[in-house]
């Protein structure tokens, strides 16, 4: 196989990966439960570009794990895990707000895992309170005591452990 063929294949694969970014976002055509402006008033900044429903999501997770692997300093690892918790929260809000309930269970499980990781050293109580307010607001958009309501309540309960 010639060098030019290999370059063409790599360029093609890179093109594929990049076109799926906007593609997966445009698929989120279902109505939001709460508008982005209202979420921003509650303290939410912005969604992640790649979310758990995306086919590229696990590449993103793989990148995070590789980055974490190469952080040998304990303080830097703690800081990075704290940053990842913020990312997990944004992903969770995306999944709940756009009613991607097929991904809710695994997204909440993943979020809870990261809450558990940072539990012993997470310091920003103000941020956690904002998280709880946003989650409670979104929880109440689902029928009370439905399976999805209970899943989100689980996320709220585990977030409260950080206070």
């Amino acid at each position: 196989m010639s060098t030019s063929t290999i370059i063409k294949i790599i360029a093609f694969l890179s093109f594929l990966i990049f076109i799926f970014q906007p593609f997966s976002q445009t698929l989120a055509k279902t109505n939001e439960l709460i508008g982005k402006e209202q979420l921003q008033v509650l303290g939410f900044s912005q969604y992640e570009s790649v979310n758990p429903n995306s086919l590229l999501y696990h590449l993103k997770r793989l990148g995070e794990e590789i980055t974490l692997f190469f952080l040998f300093d304990t303080d830097r690892r703690k800081k990075y895990n704290t940053h990842l918790l913020t990312i997990r929260f944004k992903e969770l809000i995306y999944i709940i707000n756009f009613r991607k309930t097929g991904f809710l269970d695994e997204t909440i499980s993943r979020y809870n895992v990261f809450v558990g990781k940072v539990k012993n050293y997470y310091e920003s109580k103000e941020k956690i309170n904002k998280y709880i307010v946003i989650l409670e607001k979104l929880r109440d958009m689902y029928p009370a005591n439905s399976a999805y309501w209970l899943y989100i309540q689980q996320a709220i309960d585990s977030t409260k452990n950080l206070l």
Binding site: N53, H58, L59, E106
Partner: protein, 418 residues
């Protein structure tokens, strides 16, 4: 005999023997660690229905295989009870034996084409050690390689022993169709592509060949003729495949992102469209390869066309291509096998990890991380299959063009000399 020649002969054959031995070890590992699940369960149920005296075409709710496959599974069930060997182990032995026979036949084929012995051995090993072949025969437990063996043997007879054995070739093709119906799509190629450098079918021989090819399945089906014949036919020929691979899998992956949906809402419509496209495409393939002398590439193109344009591709269909591609010594088989393996791994891990992992399975199905592997695997697989098909057809057209130009040149030379 010269010692050096003896030594090299031993070395040549030992590579093949060692390769077969490694293949047996790998396949044996998967066979012994498999479980009675998915298609194995269906095969067992078909065999049990025969032994109970039921008509499986009426008693079983899902689509049923042609009659010879049913008798094979019934015989397997009898042997399983007699030898006290689990059915899911015994039923996988037949396709794996067929794979070994295909490997030996490939070697003979290539030696007839005057390929060097070492090279022929290596190509045979590319087949027997091919991960797609191993997965389909030893892991999934499908019996498509038995059909492929009969098809390949039929082609072998037509190419090298046309005058003596063309009826036997028809019977072999007929037996293949009586196990799995996919070789039916190759019949027009057998009739219109020149198989032998010395002779080809005349019109009578074409009729006889077609008739004998279809005879085994029709004769055996007669034993199941009772009551609702329409239902029997529907059970046998109504099966349109499951949209697990190819562009259907790509669509599935894209739609999955919406809300973890794994079913395509317009699948019936897409399936019907794909049938029409395939029929048109197959007419094109027959036209391209008619009167060419490349039956193997013609059959390979037909299967590649099917994998590229048909909507309902199941896992086992990937194995159809392998023996033909190896005999044709197509290097694209490497890319096809790599991308096919990627697609297969994603498929099994997402939809049925217990099929792939057997006794070691402790993974839940429908995990989204495996959907990514499934999607990208099928994307690469579909592009490689399409590229391969286009390449073969382009080469055939170019070759025909070159032949016509040479023919015209020779005519001009003759007329000039006159």
């Amino acid at each position: 005999m010269n010692l050096t020649i003896m030594k090299s002969l031993f070395v040549e054959n030992s590579i093949f023997i060692i390769g077969i031995f490694i293949a047996i070890l790998i396949r044996g590992f998967f066979i012994l660690n498999g479980t009675d699940t998915a298609d194995i369960t269906k095969l067992r149920e078909m065999g049990e229905a025969i032994l109970k005296g039921d008509n499986p075409y009426l008693s079983i709710p899902y689509n049923v295989y042609p009659p010879l496959a049913l008798y094979l599974e019934a015989a397997t069930k009898i042997m399983s009870n007699f030898f006290n060997i689990p059915f899911h182990i015994l039923t996988k032995i037949w396709p794996n034996l067929a794979d070994i026979a295909i490997a030996v036949l490939i070697y003979k084929f290539l030696r007839k084409f005057e390929v060097k012995s070492t090279s022929a051995h290596l190509w045979s090993l590319i087949f027997i050690l091919n991960p797609i072949s191993i997965i389909i025969s030893s892991v999934h437990g499908q019996i498509d390689s038995i059909t492929s063996l009969f098809v390949l043997f039929s082609i072998y007879l037509l190419i090298f022993y046309f005058s003596k054995f063309y009826l036997l070739a028809a019977i072999c093709l007929g037996l293949a169709i009586a196990i799995k119906p996919n070789p039916i799509m190759l019949i027009p190629l057998f009739l219109f592509v020149k198989t032998s450098f010395l002779k080809n079918f005349n019109l009578n021989e074409k009729f006889i060949f077609s008739g004998i090819s279809l005879a085994p399945v029709l004769v055996l089906l007669a034993f199941f003729k009772e009551g609702d014949n329409a239902k029997i036919l529907e059970s046998l020929v109504g099966y349109s495949g499951v949209y697990d691979f190819g562009y259907a899998a790509i669509i599935r992956g894209i739609l999955y992102q919406d809300n973890a949906n794994i079913w395509i809402p317009t699948s019936d419509y897409l399936l019907n469209i794909s049938k029409i496209i395939f029929l048109l495409g197959s007419a094109f393939v027959i036209l391209i390869f008619a009167n060419s002398k490349n039956l193997i590439k013609a059959c390979l193109s037909m299967y590649l066309l099917f994998l590229t344009v048909y909507f309902g591709i199941s896992a086992q269909y990937l194995s159809w291509v392998l023996p033909l591609a190896v005999v044709a010594r197509e290097k694209m088989i490497i890319i096809f096998s790599a991308t096919g393996l990627f697609a297969l791994l994603g498929f099994y891990m997402f939809f049925g990890p217990e099929i792939l992992l057997g006794k070691f399975s402790n993974i839940n199905e429908y995990q989204s991380k495996y959907m990514s592997i499934y999607f990208f695997g099928n994307l690469l697989f579909w592009f490689s299959t399409s590229w391969w098909l286009v390449k073969i057809i382009k080469d055939c057209i170019y070759f025909k063009k070159k032949q016509s130009i040479n023919y015209i040149k020779s005519l001009l030379l003759i007329s000039f000399h006159r």
